[in-house]
């Protein structure tokens, strides 16, 4: 099933022609209406007319998160204030937030992309979507909400938290589809088990859309198995509309990134140079359809790669792999680059480990991984715990090439987040 079959299955050549046409318009508008970009263009000694092919995008300046902050609140607006109908902000843990504006057309376009995504996963009008993302300044819930309404499914704007109420809503209104963060999905699974609820017997779930936090394939499998559902990976960021930038189809092998709306580049975060197709790097996106806030070459800080080859579903828009990490999340111990997701992947593959974990960085050559044991595993025998501890240590060492200290914790010790989870605690002083 397709929402916009023609554009979703457009031939590569026609797609690239469309991209070039839209890129030229975007560059023109950014140059003309946003002083930040006209200044950058003059410094680089370029003009919009220098963009004559898609390859010329490399001539354009990058836009960083800091640039968005520096231009807060109205600096990057390309239209009259009166044309803007929606403000979202992307929270910064440090400093100012980033302001993201939408015109009416922008909201509609973001919702169209969500509609493509949802239809791609087999959703129908009689489905019920319980939206457990945060409503408000964060784009996660509202953009999904608008897209789902466009498709015509029943949307329950539950927001996150209030887990018992969530469960009641899911039962009373026969929710089939969830939109939530991976850590909340795991928490929900935990609460269901503790309440003696059986996801298959007591609920009507068919699928879940997981996004807003990077998570591993192991976690996906764990969630799919527990709830007996299909889990689809969702990618988006507020700076690029929010959710719906890229999404998995039924093949569940990478997320189709809507290339008629965004130009993809994958770069080496240190050199800024494009990497070869299929190699890991930082995702850089250029908006092609945004009115209120066109953004050129945005450094997402998300690490991914292009999945080479055609997808069986028939969509021609290229796929990116699940987010392997964030350039910010990466930490270095003993000179080795490590992403929290690598650790998560190992832990989820070990029997006897609960879902919650924490990484403590005490010094530049020592890290501690704190893991909750699962209640069922504990049989009162200390050898079993020691074996588990050794198994985790060894598996981590072979994955990240650094031998961590592994601490086993009582279940429920680590803070459970109902939003984004904090996995890494860096105690090192700079």
């Amino acid at each position: 099933m397709f929402w916009q079959k023609e554009i979703e299955t457009i031939g590569r050549k026609a797609l690239e022609e469309l991209q070039l046409k839209r890129l030229k318009q975007t560059v023109q508008r950014a140059y003309k209406n946003i002083p930040f970009y006209s200044d950058k263009f003059s410094k680089l000694n370029i003009k919009p007319k220098d963009i004559n092919s898609l390859k010329d995008i490399k001539k354009l300046p990058f836009t960083t998160r800091e640039n968005l902050r520096e231009n807060y609140p109205f600096g990057l607006l390309a239209v009259e204030r009166e044309q803007v109908v929606r403000l979202h902000t992307s929270s910064g843990t440090t400093g100012k937030p980033k302001a993201i504006f939408f015109t009416k057309k922008d909201i509609n376009q973001a919702a169209e992309l969500i509609a493509r995504c949802l239809i791609m996963t087999g959703i129908k009008k009689d489905d019920v979507l319980q939206n457990m993302m945060t409503y408000g300044l964060f784009t996660g819930a509202l953009i999904m909400h608008y897209g789902a309404e466009k498709v015509g499914v029943l949307v329950i704007p539950a927001g996150p938290g209030h887990t018992k109420r969530q469960l009641a809503l899911m039962q009373d209104f026969k929710t089939t589809t969830l939109h939530l963060t991976p850590s909340y999905a795991l928490y929900l699974a935990d609460v269901m088990s503790n309440e003696g609820l059986d996801p298959k017997r007591d609920f009507f779930l068919r699928r879940a859309y997981l996004g807003a936090e990077p998570y591993s394939e192991e976690t996906r499998k764990k969630i799919e198995k527990f709830f007996s559902i299909d889990v689809f990976n969702s990618y988006g960021l507020s700076e690029m509309n929010g959710p719906g930038v890229a999404f998995e189809c039924m093949e569940k092998n990478g997320m189709h990134l809507w290339e008629d709306n965004f130009i993809i580049e994958i770069i080496n975060p240190e050199t800024g140079k494009e990497v070869a197709e299929g190699e890991k790097g930082e995702l850089v996106l250029t908006t092609l359809c945004r009115e209120a806030m066109p953004i050129l070459r945005y450094r997402t800080r998300d690490i991914t790669m292009i999945i080479p080859g055609k997808c069986k579903c028939g969509r021609t828009h290229r796929r990116i792999s699940r987010i392997i990490g964030r350039t910010d999340d990466m930490f270095i111990v003993r000179g080795v680059n490590i992403f929290p997701q690598q650790i998560e992947q190992v832990l989820m593959g070990v029997k006897g480990v609960a879902q919650n974990y924490q990484i403590i960085l005490e010094s530049y050559d020592q890290m501690t991984v704190r893991v909750e044991i699962s209640r069922d595993l504990f049989d009162g025998r200390i050898e079993h715990l020691m074996n588990l501890q050794n198994e985790i240590t060894e598996k981590l060492r072979s994955e990240i090439l650094v031998k961590p200290k592994v601490e086993l914790l009582e279940p429920g010790t680590l803070p459970v987040s109902e939003g984004k989870a904090t996995r890494v605690i860096d105690k090192r002083t700079l």
Partner: protein
């Protein structure tokens, strides 16, 4: 009925042992015997109490990770060589002892030894055959 022992997983955190024992105190549970097995990162607290079900519930309610196991309790004369004699019987019968701890009963005449063998039933049979008084759950709990 077998003698029940409560095992509690303790992570290496200041005050965690006290917290477990405080739960027992607040639930008005008298501890008959106690032992701790530990490594540098975590430990297991083992308890013999008159009301294992109640203890288990109280601990679980306070979010402790708890498991109940069967153990063997035997009465040993409180004099040199008492415990060694018991272990000799089990060694001769080729039965592995996972851990052992002991306490002296109130009158001071007898020591009570708590044993965990790889097979509880085999351990009990061997001890009974050698004439060692294996205590019932009721006897242990009422000590």
């Amino acid at each position: 009925m077998e003698v029940k022992q409560i095992s509690v997983f303790l992570e290496n955190k200041k005050g965690r042992l006290w917290e477990a024992l405080d739960v027992m105190a607040k639930a008005q549970i008298n501890i008959r015997a106690l032992s701790i097995a530990d490594t540098s990162e975590f430990g297991i607290l083992r308890l013999i109490v008159p009301n294992p079900e109640k203890a288990k519930k109280a601990l679980a309610k306070s979010n402790f990770t708890v498991r109940e196991n069967d153990v063997i309790a035997v009465g040993v004369p409180d004099k040199p060589g008492g415990l060694a004699g018991i272990l000799k019987i089990l060694t001769d019968a080729d039965i592995n002892v996972e851990y052992v701890y002991a306490f002296v009963e109130k009158s001071g005449k007898k020591a009570v030894v708590v044993l965990r063998t790889d097979s509880i039933s085999k351990g009990k049979t061997a001890l009974k055959k050698a004439g060692v008084p294996v205590l019932s759950a009721e006897e242990v709990y009422s000590l």
